[in-house]
């Protein structure tokens, strides 16, 4: 039985959207001065910048919904591990360039369909945020698809690396489509649709790209789930250590 009211559910949902962006943005920012070529170094921090911008919008709305006079930064920086609702795939380490591009492909395809439906939401703020994020995410998807195809058809080494990335990341994909109490309340309030319904579209789009990349989806394995309920992998805690360092070390300081 759900104990959440619609406003609380919408708040949680904004956290989920914000956290996906914040955590993925933080991962992408790790590439800063580490890219395989300068152009890609800049491209990845550019994606990161988009994600931080999207996170900020989502948290601003969350702060308003909460009505406790907290800022987007308070929400971004001052929660503990179990209070972050990002999907597990976003917190996975970057691995090599193939791993990061594969992660981006799998996530951006999801985000594209997500923002498409949300841009038709009856909640005006949510629909505006989604429409705005959609423009950026389409570019992210194009960029990562092109790279996955390039790596899959590049050299033997790049194909193997791309395939390995897919083999590992695949098992974190179902987590993006989990429907939890937050969703149920928002579906009831007709603010969102059942987002597990995006899965077939996501799957066929991803399959199409992977086919062009000569890569095969692994056949058997266990799908990890739990991000939307705050059940994370061990990686998240370390991301938060770095992210929150100054806010935690100097409570109340303004930067």
């Amino acid at each position: 039985m759900s104990t959440m009211n619609t406003k609380e559910a919408l708040y949680n949902f904004c956290l989920r959207l914000g956290d996906n962006n914040l955590i993925l943005g933080q991962r992408l920012a790790e590439w800063c001065s580490n890219g395989p070529i300068l152009e890609e170094d800049l491209a990845m921090t550019n994606l990161s910048l988009d994600h931080f911008g999207q996170a900020e919008f989502m948290y601003e709305y969350a702060a308003e919904l909460e009505g406790k006079n907290r800022t987007a930064d308070d929400i971004a920086y001052l929660r503990n591990e179990r209070g972050y609702f990002n999907s597990l795939i976003t917190e996975q380490p970057n691995g090599d360039f193939a791993f990061t591009m594969m992660k981006q492909l799998l996530y951006s395809t999801f985000a594209k369909y997500l923002y498409e439906t949300l841009s038709a939401s009856s909640d005006k703020r949510l629909s505006e945020l989604a429409a705005r994020a959609l423009k950026e995410i389409k570019y992210h998807l194009r960029h990562s698809s092109e790279w996955v195809i390039r790596l899959g058809n590049g050299t033997e080494e790049s194909r193997i690396r791309a395939q390995q990335a897919l083999n590992e990341l695949w098992w974190y994909t179902a987590d993006m489509f989990v429907v939890n109490e937050t969703d149920k309340e928002l579906i009831k309030a007709q603010i969102i649709t059942d987002l597990s319904g995006l899965y077939p579209k996501w799957k066929s789009s991803v399959e199409e790209t992977l086919k062009l990349a000569n890569l095969t989806i692994p056949a058997h394995g266990h799908m990890y789930k739990g991000g939307y309920d705050g059940n994370h992998t061990e990686h998240l805690g370390h991301i938060l250590c770095e992210l929150q360092y100054l806010q935690r070390a100097y409570p109340g300081a303004k930067w």
């Binding site: 001065s33 070529i37 300068l38 921090t45 911008g53 360039f97 390039r150 790049s158 100097y250 930067w255």
Partner: protein, 316 residues
Amino acid sequence: MTEEEKLTRFNSKIDKEEKIEPKDWMPDAYRKTMIRQLSQHAHSEVIGMQPEGNWVLRAPSLRAKKILLAKIQDEGGHGLYLYSATETLGIDRDEMIQQLHEGKAKYSNIFNYPALTWADIGAIGWLVDGAAIVNQISLQRTSYGPYSRGMIRICKEESFHQRQGYEIMVTMMNGTPEQKQMAQDAMNRWWWPSLMMFGPPDNDSSHTKQSMRWKIKRESNDVLRQRFIDKTVDQAHFIGLTVPDKDLKFNKSTGHWDIGKINWDEFHEVINGNGPCNKQRLAHHIKVHNEGRWVREAAMAFAENETRTKKELVTH
């Protein structure tokens, strides 16, 4: 045209303040100097991404994070732009990177200092970019066309960086005692290295004379340094920062701030590879470059395949 006539023409162009363009004839030594200076500038932009990148993950607010990331991107963009400008002189980026890795090409000494606290991000923007602007505004009038145009473009962004860096210092000086201490500590560590960014004093600068004659360099190291000091000392005092120089004094007769002795031994130590981060910066660049090789090879193989397929489609 004989070599001599070409040289006369080149010199008269320089005299008339006309720009030298890539296709123009130029003396070998001019080309060499330009390559050295431009590639050094490009490498500096790129190596400078490391100390600032060190704080991206820990930036204390979403706004600060976005500003810092965007700034580092600007610097990388300057690097790209300057690599292309250098390529107009007949050297490619791979070769420039090779020279960097072999220690034959340099980058600005300033990036051999570590960014230890968040206040260093403020100090770097305010002091390092601030010093870079003074130098680069002067270089807008440099004689090599692509370099001059590059500087005009880049300076606009640099002044943003300088303001954003100063803003961090202002915020921290208005903050908690710990923040003020952090800001002052950053000031103490970055002040002198920033002054050294302008290079050795005029009387023992080996490159200055010829570069001034060719109008590659338009103003001397000491003139530029003084300009930076004058504008920066006031900014420091305005927010309550102490300049770490007990001999600093306003000279009423010249209208300039006189400073104490710069420790040129430290400067030469760092240039000779013994700064706190020389090894780290270069090793990092080499490591990343090597780790990225397979990506570059894959991209190249893919592009070659694509062209081949296209050609086959046309012929069939």
